[in-house]
Symmetry: C2
Subunit: 332 residues, 2 copies
């Protein structure tokens, strides 16, 4: 399952910029795949691509209509369905990051089947997985882990991929969430996998590779998140990571969605991740800390990153503001 | 979803006694619910109940036909389907521990719908769950954890329920696997839940209760099992257990299904389970060790249990050979 590019990015009638967050992520990391954006009447989002009709996009060779927008209340309206049907008629596949499955819309599923087009509902694993075996496999792997959800694991993994590729290192981002899958063109939404198969799905996602090849695996959740830690542990075991990068947002008041839970300390987060990771890779270690310091001044950022780096003896970076070169330096 | 009893236990054409393991577990723990057994031609299993036709069982008030037998190669033959259809006609529901869903057999599903009967495919959660919140809830909870899979977690949980009830303590076994669910009449097959909802499903399974009520939650897998640890961690967080009982089989050569993984040491297994459990219940602690010593002589068993008890300062029992009274003593 590989999503074909180039993409036409569908923003629908997004009520604000945030609703098009997924589309924006794809444009940011894969600008060369994004031909243009398609906006319906009333759309308040703009991801900075040329506006384009379906026909124009098809004329320029668009292979996939990417639905990278949140829909209101889970309802997929008629205007969206009409757009999808027409895209199929014009030769495009559909890839969607919606919660609801596009493949569950009867007329869209029917037309796709008739025309031999593919529908990628990237939040839903479209296949079964084997149970994980924990058997060692060649190739190098890095997994981003976190003190919490939504602390920049995808961004950090992608930034490391970019930095490694710029140095000529063989490296592939491995996506585990919907935005990441649209960016990578493939991947597994691990939080939607049946729980017996979390580590197995991760083994499938990051298979045996060349000894000098790096898989950069997008982490999910946190071992310290009371809702999602099972997913994080399955990922950690399945990844067999040689290197872990700890992602963190300094100053966050509590765990995301859980006001009654405070964030773990960095040292205990490093210790528990290393301890658990070593079940399947005895050499696993945390090699760097990646912070989202967007709430801090330049001076505060320097102080926070300096303190973390001194305290833990490893690079501490903000992937947006400082880049991740210091972490890659340490790996090569 | 509560499976109605009494049960008629269906053994089909089980090729040997092991194929009827689930039915045997139900008979062992809920003899008062088991009216009889129904065996087809060629059945080599016998769980020690009176043989009974569907009509005889219906006449004695059987409410549910329980399919507690493994089928060969995942195929459900005509003779099984005929039995199910007739049971529905005679007023029974169907509860099945098969991998394949009975509800996916069109003629059985159709008849059940027509007659208003229920089909319980206990390996498949028949509902959606909320994401876990980690919010504290009243009532006391005990979870069995393990050095490995299949080390007696269900048996130990049931033995503790029985011991507690015999002392007049309010206690309920909470089932997380197919045999346990047929024994309890309800439960959630947690390893079949979507991975984002493992802890949420566990919170649903063992909800708020009286302050002096004990839920005895059947554990699954092990934090040290490379295939299934994600399930174990979600269970540990969702259970919010006050007490953990560590289950173990002394002398087991390697992790179940993973010849390349040895078993963890007892001390590290206690430490990691307590550490992770304390995220959602800071008072969580391991209160006893339950061993399956069936491979040991009486003398060896005494020595092994005595050593464990001395070393860890807590009761070490074999639920089958010594009972679990020493663990319950410690809890009350």
């Amino acid at each position: 399952m590989e999503i074909r590019n180039p993409y036409l990015m569908f923003l629908g009638d997004a009520p604000d910029q945030l609703a098009a967050k997924t589309a924006n992520g794809v444009r940011q990391w894969r600008p060369e795949w994004c031909l243009g954006q398609l906006r319906l009447e009333g759309c308040k989002a703009d991801i900075g691509l040329p506006d384009m009709t379906l026909e124009e996009a098809a004329g320029k060779g668009a292979k996939t209509l990417v639905i990278g927008v949140a829909n209101r209340g889970g309802r997929i309206g008629t205007s969206w369905v009409d757009t999808m049907l027409k895209a199929l008629d014009l030769g495009m596949d559909i890839a969607s990051g919606l919660h609801n499955k596009v493949a569950d819309i009867p007329e869209v599923a029917r037309k796709a089947a008739e025309l031999g087009r593919s529908i990628f509902d990237v939040r839903h694993p479209g296949r079964d997985f084997e149970v994980g075996t924990g058997a060692r496999r060649p190739g190098k792997r890095l997994l981003t882990v976190g003190t919490d959800c939504s602390v920049g694991k995808m961004f950090t993994s992608l930034a490391i991929e970019k930095e490694m590729r710029s140095r000529g290192i063989k490296a592939d981002f491995r996506a585990t969430g919907q935005t990441g899958i649209l960016i990578a063109g493939s991947g597994v939404s691990v939080d939607a996998v049946i729980s017996d198969f979390i580590s197995g799905a991760t083994e499938f996602l990051a298979p045996a590779n060349d000894p000098d090849h790096w898989d950069l695996i997008e982490g999910q959740g946190s071992l310290f998140h009371a809702s999602y830690a099972g997913v994080s542990l399955g990922l950690l075991h399945g990844a067999q990571a040689d290197a872990l990068v700890l992602c963190h947002e300094p100053g966050r008041p509590h765990m995301r969605g859980l006001p009654h839970y405070k964030l773990p300390e960095i040292d205990e987060c490093i210790a528990l991740n290393e301890r658990c990771a070593r079940l399947t890779n005895p050499d696993a270690r945390v090699v760097g800390i990646a912070c989202n310091t967007s709430a801090l001044s330049e001076e505060e950022m320097r102080r926070v990153l300096g303190d973390l780096s001194d305290r833990f003896g490893m690079p501490a970076v903000d992937p947006v503001r400082t880049g991740v070169a210091a972490i890659v330096d340490r790996l090569v």
